[in-house]
């Protein structure tokens, strides 16, 4: 065991893992975090807490993780390289682990031009690959980047993201391999809508034996409406939404589109579960935490295993 987090225990025991996601509020309202957390209690093994996602200022993810811990849920701290240099990233990891956080997801972070403060400077002192390697070094060698010894090293289960649908497709698995080599213990993928393409990606992953070196969790996000599907298809870079998904949602009619979105999401989970190398699913019910249970239950993934 690297960290002994619940997520690590579930995966190590060979269970099909389920992780959720929670976006901190655009203010300091702790109650909102607790409310969202309540919806995810008992239905996921760990909850990703996003770090100023889409470069929109929100409550600090470390603080939101702490609120989650107090509610008895296990957080997975997302950390992006956009806003902090190596000093702050290492410092925040020490602080986070001192508070009891055991899972960390290392990301580059969306460019601030997408966000609500596009005029800001960005940092990107490290990239996601280097962040993975830095945290692995802190955990395994008990050293900072500068080789100085840590007085108390973090015990963390280290995660990374992968997008099987970004371009160039032929390099995607290589990049995944690099993340694993750099230190990723688990991977959470971008939302999957194009299952044949994901299958092709996973075949390459399995051919290279990467699924034996780390746990790969397939990402899913339920579509709330035809509008959301169209938006994601057109405007979100690296998102692959096949036309048939849009058609299905449209055919369901405005009133039933959300229900159809959940149905598609459940079917996706069931299908990716059958793909070799997939160790779990990451359910990103963004601002829809209260519908997560329906999806996870519908996919037959409840109750969640309890591993000692």
């Amino acid at each position: 065991m690297k960290a002994g987090s619940n997520l690590e225990k579930v995966l190590t025991a060979g269970h099909f893992a389920v992780t959720g996601e929670l976006g901190p509020p655009r203010g300091n309202n702790a109650e909102e975090v607790r409310k969202k957390a309540e919806h995810l209690k008992g239905i996921v093994d760990s909850v990703n807490i996003t770090d100023n996602q889409t470069a929109v200022v929100r409550m600090s993810s470390v603080a939101a993780c702490k609120l989650l811990l107090e509610e008895g849920l296990e957080p997975n701290l997302q950390m992006v390289c956009r806003d902090r240099n190596r000093i702050a990233l290492m410092s925040d990891l020490l602080g986070a682990t001192a508070l009891g956080i055991k899972n960390v997801l290392c990301l580059s972070g969306d460019h601030q031009r997408f966000g609500d403060h596009p005029e800001g400077k960005n940092v990107f002192d490290l990239d996601s690959m280097q962040l993975l390697a830095t945290f692995k070094k802190m955990r395994d060698e008990k050293k900072f980047l500068n080789d100085k010894e840590l007085d108390g090293a973090p015990e963390i289960f280290i995660g990374a993201a992968a997008n099987p649908f970004a371009d160039p497709f032929s390099f995607r698995v290589t990049r995944l391999a690099k993340k694993i080599a750099a230190g990723a213990d688990f991977i959470q993928t971008q939302c999957i809508y194009n299952i044949p393409k994901f299958r092709e990606y996973m075949k390459q992953v399995v051919d290279r034996g990467l699924h034996e070196k780390c746990y790969i969790l397939a990402g899913v996000t339920p579509m709330k409406s035809v509008g959301m599907a169209k938006y994601m298809a057109k405007f979100v870079p690296g998102m692959d939404v096949p036309e048939e998904i849009v058609k299905r949602l449209a055919a369901a009619g405005k009133k039933n589109a959300a229900q159809e979105g959940i149905k598609i999401c459940i079917e996706t989970i069931q299908q990716v579960r059958e793909i070799e190398g997939v160790a779990g699913v990451h359910v990103m019910a963004i601002e829809w935490e209260h519908r997560a249970r329906e999806i996870i239950e519908g996919a037959g993934l409840l109750p969640r295993p309890v591993v000692d």
């Binding site: 460019h111 601030q112 031009r113 596009p118 005029e119 800001g120 400077k121």
Partner: protein, 222 residues
């Protein structure tokens, strides 16, 4: 102008190891003026490479050339008949040179022979200093003609910070505190009260932070 530093000879030798025919390529632009990448430096580097290769018992096939500029396709084109004859081109222009060459001659291996360091000027012969960070929104006139973005170690717009001591920056006694200079200059000009203004946050979109920059001048485009 763009200032550069020569790379160590060992590093360049390592780059071109196993590559027989080598072209050392200079530029008559900024790097000629700052004595790092012009015709003269091409000759010096080529000679050093020849000596090193001879010492290693190799036949030195090192050619020399210098283009008017390496940041202009027009001049890059001059190598159309010869570029592909080389196993390596060592460009000693700024970072633009190796990139323009690689784009134009995709099968040729191009290596950077210098490190591009900053935009600056000559303080005296052999001494250059950074003066501009190309933030894309110049405000030096508000600071007595001294740029706090490029010359303050923290790019403070409301300095000097608490680390300013005896006119020097906290990072090194070799580095002037530009804010010390700004205050003195504004005082001399009788403009000190202008510095009472609390400068609001800067829009960095015009800087590198906004992503790679391209400028299109419709009036000049053909």
């Amino acid at each position: 102008m763009i200032i550069g530093d020569s790379k160590p000879l060992e590093e360049i030798l390592e780059m071109i190891e196993g590559r027989d025919k080598v072209l050392v390529l200079g530029c008559r632009g900024c790097v000629t003026v700052c004595n790092v990448g012009g015709e003269k430096e091409v000759g010096i580097l080529a000679t050093a490479l020849r000596i090193a290769r001879k010492k290693a018992g190799q036949e030195p096939h090192i050619d020399e050339a210098t283009l008017e500029r390496q940041c202009d396709p027009e001049y890059i084109e001059e190598l159309a008949d010869t570029a592909e004859n080389y196993d390596a081109i060592v460009s000693i222009a700024c970072g633009v040179g190796p990139q323009f060459l690689s784009e134009r001659y995709p099968t040729v291996r191009v290596f950077p022979g210098i490190n591009t360091t900053f935009i600056g000027g000559a303080l005296e012969h052999g001494v250059w200093a950074e003066r501009c960070q190309s933030c894309g929104n110049c405000i030096v006139h508000h600071f007595g003609g001294l740029c706090p973005i490029a010359r303050c170690s923290k790019s403070l717009m409301n300095g000097p910070c608490g680390g300013s001591a005896a006119g020097k920056c906290e990072i090194s006694p070799e580095v002037d505190c530009v804010w010390h200079l700004i205050v003195e200059k504004m005082e001399r000009m009788g403009r000190l009260e202008e510095l009472e203004r609390v400068w609001p946050v800067k829009n960095w979109l015009t800087s590198r932070d906004g992503g790679p920059r391209t400028r299109i001048r419709e009036d000049l485009k053909q």
